[in-house]
Every structure is written in C-alpha cells, then in structure tokens.
C-alpha cells in the first residue's frame, strides 16, 4: 500500500507493507539518523516526533502515520544548522557514544516546545523513555536546562 507522510517538512510517499513499523520504513528510505535498538519501545533510541509528540517509532505501525507529520533529529537541526539543543548537548558533555542522542534530543525538543522553562524533574520525566549508558543522564539534563535558558533569551531558535 502507498502512504503519504510529511517527513521533516517534505511530503513523501512510501510503498509499505501493512504490518511494518515506522522505524523500519524511515531507515529503509534513508533516514538513518533514526536509530533502532531494542525494538520493544524500551530504550527511546528510535524516538521521532509524530505531529509534534514523541513516539517510539519501533512500535508505531507506519500506516498509522499516513497523512501525519514526522520529525526526525535531522529535521530539528543538522551539522550546517544545529539547533540550540544539539549545541548544548555538545557543550555540556552530553554526547559520548552518541547512539541515544537523536532520540534524547527529539524528546527534549518536544518538551521545550510545550514548556520553555522546565524544572529538572520535568526534564527527567519527559526524557524517561531515553536510555543512555554513557553519560549517567546528568549532563543531558544540564544540556536541556542550558538550551531552555538560551531559548528563553530569545536570541536562538
């Protein structure tokens, strides 16, 4: 079957199998920034935004995304134009092996879009789906606090 998804603001059509999950289709279509790991919704590596809300792309049937908007971490920012969150992750030492970072930044983006001044507890709750085996989470929380402060100043988008 053919479905249409707006991926990172670009309208795309995909030929899919009805039982496929979003993660597999995105990676097959070249969105390799979306990482697969547990394939059971536990680790958060595959997190993308579906209509602005974070979802585990390994568990969502791709047909459910038909007609909706998906944002991957590359849609948030890339090497040429990094988002303030991505810069804050680097600056605060929140990136080590880096495998969890696309999912973590995506979850953090969804939080800051709704809550520009989150508490540490709110950050931890919003990112409770994103496992990180390197940083111990402290630096990631600091990075999100840092990015939120910069965004509130209004000098970055």
């Amino acid at each position: 079957m053919t479905i249409s998804i707006n991926v990172n603001t670009v309208e795309r059509s995909f030929d899919i199998q009805p039982g496929e999950v979003l993660l597999d289709v995105l990676r097959r279509e070249g969105y390799l920034e979306v990482k697969g790991s547990c394939h059971s919704g536990d680790c958060g590596a595959c997190t993308v935004l579906l209509d602005g809300r974070p979802v585990a792309s390994c568990l969502i049937l791709v047909a459910k995304a038909d007609g909706h908007a998906v944002t991957t971490v590359r849609g948030i920012g890339d090497q040429a134009h990094p988002h303030v969150l991505q810069e804050a992750f680097v600056k605060n030492g929140a990136v080590q092996c880096g495998y969890c970072v696309p999912g973590a930044i995506t979850s953090a983006k969804a939080l800051l879009d709704e809550n520009p001044d989150p508490t540490e507890e709110e950050i931890r709750l919003a990112m409770d789906s994103n496992y990180c085996r390197c940083t111990g989470y402290e630096q990631q929380v600091e990075a999100v606090l840092d990015a939120a402060a910069q965004l509130r100043k209004g000098d970055k988008k």
Binding site: G19, P54, V55, L59, A63, K64
Partner: protein, 277 residues
C-alpha cells in the same frame, strides 16, 4: 508482523464493525497499536484502524466524564477535568506509567481491549467504577469489571465513563515494581468515599497477582461505615493477605505477594489518614 496483508482505515464505527464482522477472527482493531506490534498474532491478517472514527475526546457533563477509546494516556494526564476527578489519581497515573514516548501512543481503549494481566491502567479504572460504552451494531454501557470478566469479541470499545458520583471520592494507587518502569509484581488500586471521618463506600482492586484485575467486595465492605483510623486499616491489613488470591510465578512467590498485599493496605492507610506508620 509479516502476515498482515491489509490495513483498513475505518471511516465510522459502523464501517469498522461491519468490516470486522465480515472478516471474523483474522481482523483486529488498532488502538495505539503497541501491543499488536509487540505481541504479534499470526492469525491476524487485517488491521482495522479506528483513528478516523471520532473516538479521541474527553467530554465532561453532569453525569460524569467520558473518555473516547482512542484517547492517549498523555491526553488523559493533561485533562483538567480528569485532574480534578477522584483526587486526580487517574491523571497522575496516566502521566507516569510506562515511558513518555509510549504514553503518547497508548490509548485507553487499547489497554482495555488487550487487558494484559500486567496492565496497570485497567485496575485503576475498575477501582474508579468505570463503565465502558460498547458498540456492536448498537450502543450499550456495561461496568468495566464485567467487561473484562466476559469480553465480547467483536464489540468496539467506544468510550470509558467515569461517574460524577465518584468525582469527590479519593483514588489511590500503589504498586510494587523493581524499577519505575517495570511491570507490577503486585498492583493495588482503591477508591474510597468519606463523609467526614466515616468511610461510606470503597472499591479495592488487586492485579498483578499475577492474574488480571479483580475487585474484592469483601475487603471493601470491611471499610464501609468504619471510621477513618489506623485501627480500621490495621484490621484490613490483617485479613487482606488471606483473602486476595495470589500466585507464584518467575517474578515472585505467592508468600511474597501476600506480604505485598499487607504493604499495600498500609500505604492506603497512610494515604487516607495522612500519617505515616
């Protein structure tokens, strides 16, 4: 899920029900879809998506609150009406269960429809006295506790109703897990209504025993008409471990679960009386 050959976007409840009836046991309704992906049933070849059937709503009225079956846990957790219902226990719980990115996918109808024994949403809804609005050609309303006892194949869960009569009661939830996001070794949910210092109604539900959610009317009766005191809950904590049916599995022994039953009642005592023991 390699055997799925058709994904059908139903345009209405009537359309979805007719399609399911036509296909029989090879068809399954899609709620959030999480369970369908995680636990694939090789017999299922067609998925019927209900997301275009207008079931994503929370409607408050004089009778209470109705939650459309396609409403996600995140939406429930943010509802001002549900935050005020029974002390906000359902809203709090819907905002903390599982992971953030699953709470945006899991729907209330999906968890009721699948009703896995480890589910932590259904027991709390049963304690809150929830009813379900079903559609199988015609609409009817039935208590959730009855629905999960005798699930009727083919019926679509249209919505979940929370009675206005329980809105002022106090909801309580306690579960024992090894980590925050682990499934429950024992789940305990309660709804208690008080008139001053006297309890006038109670629903006590245990799940993860490891069986499905079950109401314990005998334990509930023990609270009705009694004063809100440590003595009342101490008596309940003494009798509950013998009355709650618990079993042994790889997660815990029955003996361990009986101790957890006692601990659950102690926690209810602390919640209701506001004083730690």
């Amino acid at each position: 899920m390699g055997r799925i050959t058709q994904y059908y976007h139903a345009t209405s409840l009537e359309d979805a029900f007719a399609k399911a009836k036509q296909l029989g046991p090879v068809a399954a309704y899609v709620g959030g879809g999480v369970e369908l992906v995680l636990r694939r049933n090789p017999e299922i070849t067609t998925l019927i998506d209900l997301s275009h059937c207008g079931l994503d709503y929370i409607a408050a009225s004089r009778e209470g609150i109705e939650i459309g079956s396609q409403t996600t846990l995140t939406t429930i957790s943010r509802s001002a009406d549900i935050r005020q219902y029974a002390g906000g226990s359902l809203a709090w719980w819907a905002g903390h269960i599982a992971h953030n990115n699953l709470r945006d996918m899991i729907t209330v109808g999906g968890v009721i429809g699948r009703n896995q024994p480890w589910n932590d949403v259904v027991p709390h809804l049963v304690a809150l006295g929830a009813q379900v609005r079903l559609f199988d050609g015609t609409e009817r309303i039935t208590p959730l506790s009855d629905y999960i006892e005798a699930k009727q194949p083919g019926a679509i869960i249209k919505g979940v109703l929370l009675s206005a009569g329980n809105a002022g009661s106090r909801g309580f939830l306690w579960r024992f897990t090894r980590t925050q996001q682990d499934i429950s070794t024992l789940h305990f949910s309660a709804l208690v209504n008080c008139d001053g210092k006297v309890m006038t109604a109670a629903n006590l539900v245990f799940a993860g025993r490891p069986g499905h959610a079950a109401l314990y009317p005998r334990l509930s009766e023990e609270l009705v008409g009694k004063s809100l005191s440590h003595e009342t809950f101490a008596r309940l904590a003494e009798m509950a471990p013998d009355l709650v049916e618990v079993g042994t599995d790889l997660r815990a022994t029955g003996e361990f679960r009986r101790e957890l039953v006692r601990a659950a009642i102690v926690n209810l005592d602390e919640h209701m009386t506001g004083v730690a023991q």
